[in-house]
Symmetry: C2
Subunit: 453 residues, 2 copies
Amino acid sequence: MFFKEGEDGVKVYRLQPVQILALGFAAVILIGALLLKLPISSSNGQSTPFIDCLFTATSAVCVTGLVTLDTGTYWSLFGQIVILILIQVGGLGFMTFATLIAIILGRKITLKERLIMQEAYNAFNIQGIVKLAIYVMTITFSIEALGAIFLATQFVPEYGWKKGIYFGIFHSVSAFCNAGFDLIGGFRSLTPYVENVVMNLTIMSLIVIGGLGFGVISEIITNRNYKKLSLHAKVVIFATFILIGLGALSFLVLEYNNSKTLGSLSLKGKILSSLFASITPRTAGFNTINLSDMTVASKFLTIILMFIGASPGSTGGGIKTSTATLILMTVLSVIRGREDTELLKRRIPKDLVYRAIAITFISFILVIVVTMILSITQEGDFMEFLYEATSAFGTVGLDLGLSPRLNLIGKIVIIFTMYSGRVGPLTLALAFARKQLCVSKAIKYPEDKILVG
Amino acid sequence: MFFKEGEDGVKVYRLQPVQILALGFAAVILIGALLLKLPISSSNGQSTPFIDCLFTATSAVCVTGLVTLDTGTYWSLFGQIVILILIQVGGLGFMTFATLIAIILGRKITLKERLIMQEAYNAFNIQGIVKLAIYVMTITFSIEALGAIFLATQFVPEYGWKKGIYFGIFHSVSAFCNAGFDLIGGFRSLTPYVENVVMNLTIMSLIVIGGLGFGVISEIITNRNYKKLSLHAKVVIFATFILIGLGALSFLVLEYNNSKTLGSLSLKGKILSSLFASITPRTAGFNTINLSDMTVASKFLTIILMFIGASPGSTGGGIKTSTATLILMTVLSVIRGREDTELLKRRIPKDLVYRAIAITFISFILVIVVTMILSITQEGDFMEFLYEATSAFGTVGLDLGLSPRLNLIGKIVIIFTMYSGRVGPLTLALAFARKQLCVSKAIKYPEDKILVG
Ligand SMILES: [K+]
Ligand SMILES: [K+]
């Protein structure tokens, strides 16, 4: 099918970029799974069951971090580097890579490719899309390099130069891409470093910057002045820091006397790990305290934070901070008797609010259905199922120990959920909604009311 | 403060009816609690702790059915009749009673009183509001009388004439008002009658009719023709029967082999109790199978059904079937690329959709916060807390055994939740939003966009 220019043409074929994105992710996942299937990928030199390769590849490309096999001990160096590349491809989005290759080959970037990238970055318009792609990669590699240096200062004394630098790079990429894969071993994540200030601050900074979204990062670098930022950037920055602050405070209060989590730590450790617990659901997936030892209230709070997730056009998942803010502001506007949703003295158009509702509710339904399927097919309790489903949808990667215990059905369901979460459930729904193609000149029905609430 | 007529006046004081309704409910609850506090209210002739009186009175007036003391064994006949009257008052809404008294006294009903009733019934306009009130009572008492006769045919053989007829009346009123209080004893609800066809069908019919809302019942009686029904009535009837059908089918599948619930029953019993399990969260609160023995998936499904609840202007709670439908249709409209929410070939205005969002999200936040508080202050597991919080918010009355174990803080929180659920969380938010009073001539901000999802 060829791309037709002109207003009507764009309307008729507007789903194409979405479909290409969805299929592109799937293709990269499949290639990754096949590479991991090779005997040289595992540390024992034997071929791994395909479902676990597919699970790991999906988790890496979708920057989730849920694993059925411990990354640090099960996979060989080759396998780990495959995972690292999948994380980087997934984090940047494969279209950035396609653009990179196109630029290297000196080929002209077509309008269609620009449209696909626009969809990939969730950008408003098509201008400057290529410039943005180059920006994205420059920023990504610079920040990851800086992060790797900081982390290496901690890893080198422990593991020596070679392994220390490798660990620095791996965890820096994994943190900035919000992937949550770690090489520490024994499914321990970063728990050995709970009181390590440099490690904590570096990882947290990488997670937060990665989760703001490339557009916002680029705006901050370009403008350096709060007033000049777009409404979107302001909202995302506000929402991110309010969520981090309130979350950290809540975790500190809820876990302060829990001897299995914060109770035994120094005050510095308590503050660091509360902050970390609040930041990791945005949607990194590392942890410095044992998640299954947290109080019920903390686990529930983590689920809510994971569901909200990071910001649009970032390496993170979830319904996104801006979506949650838009819905909250709509509720406040209704309570205040305003006709439109208002946000920082701006009116938000109806179609955006409706889109936010659609994203939120499709995500809810996805999490509910996945939780139901898990509860029917797996051994465990309700909290574990809801936690796992939300973590997979939000591409977070935190779990209460369920992932390694999943049976075949469980693995397939979680693979599908991670994929839907990364591509976006609304995007997927749109990609498969054929009706979308023929609504240009639809009839307009008469208005009518029903009672609510 | 006096009521001013005229357009502007109505705008300025529109919250008054809401506030009066909220305070009215509170006053009736307080009177009920004081009556239950009297020694003659308890079967052992001793005064009951005030917090349990308040809990029981709130549960009765808010037609919830959660109890800390077993209704059938703890309370005396006097206490039970107090509860029955509170249920009837709460079910009809105290304004209907105020109207009744006014009519009996031959007093003219003022515009203000009509406005309060309009708010109470969630009606579109003020015309025919008094006629509706008379209708409401005629319909209520007729249906309850009919239900009582059917139920008495089952209770009289078991308990004799006097007690049998009393049980018939009590359970008929409790079912039609979606209150869920029972006199069977030992917190057993209707489990002894799991295979009793007459009992099951009567109770289910009373619940469903009571949950449709008086406006819809009155429309059905007046029109008797589907095509002539209002959009609202069609939506409510559709949604109710789809929820019942899908719910019953799901429970049948999920519990078919569960030896503790449906497994040991005859096929007739299996079908009856699946139907009952699907109908009772709309928001009656009786149960014929042991709820804590259900599978995790069934419990989760019950929570979702309880959250949705019954229809507006009915004796039931929850966010309401029409609210859920409106949000679902908005999501579908976004996926289909439509500009407006469409429902049975009608466009729904934006303000109604926004109101539906507000109701749903305030309710979500309420349930989340209550679940959190319960998990911090009570002994039990996450599922019990979420179940109890949703049940209290939806004025459902189903629980997994937590209510009788609640400590003082738990009781206070659940009392507040039942009250908020009955008055409506958005209504409460509006009642306390002072800003509402001065937005008539507000400035209109410029439009702007942000990225979502
Ligand atoms: K992640
Ligand atoms: K009830």
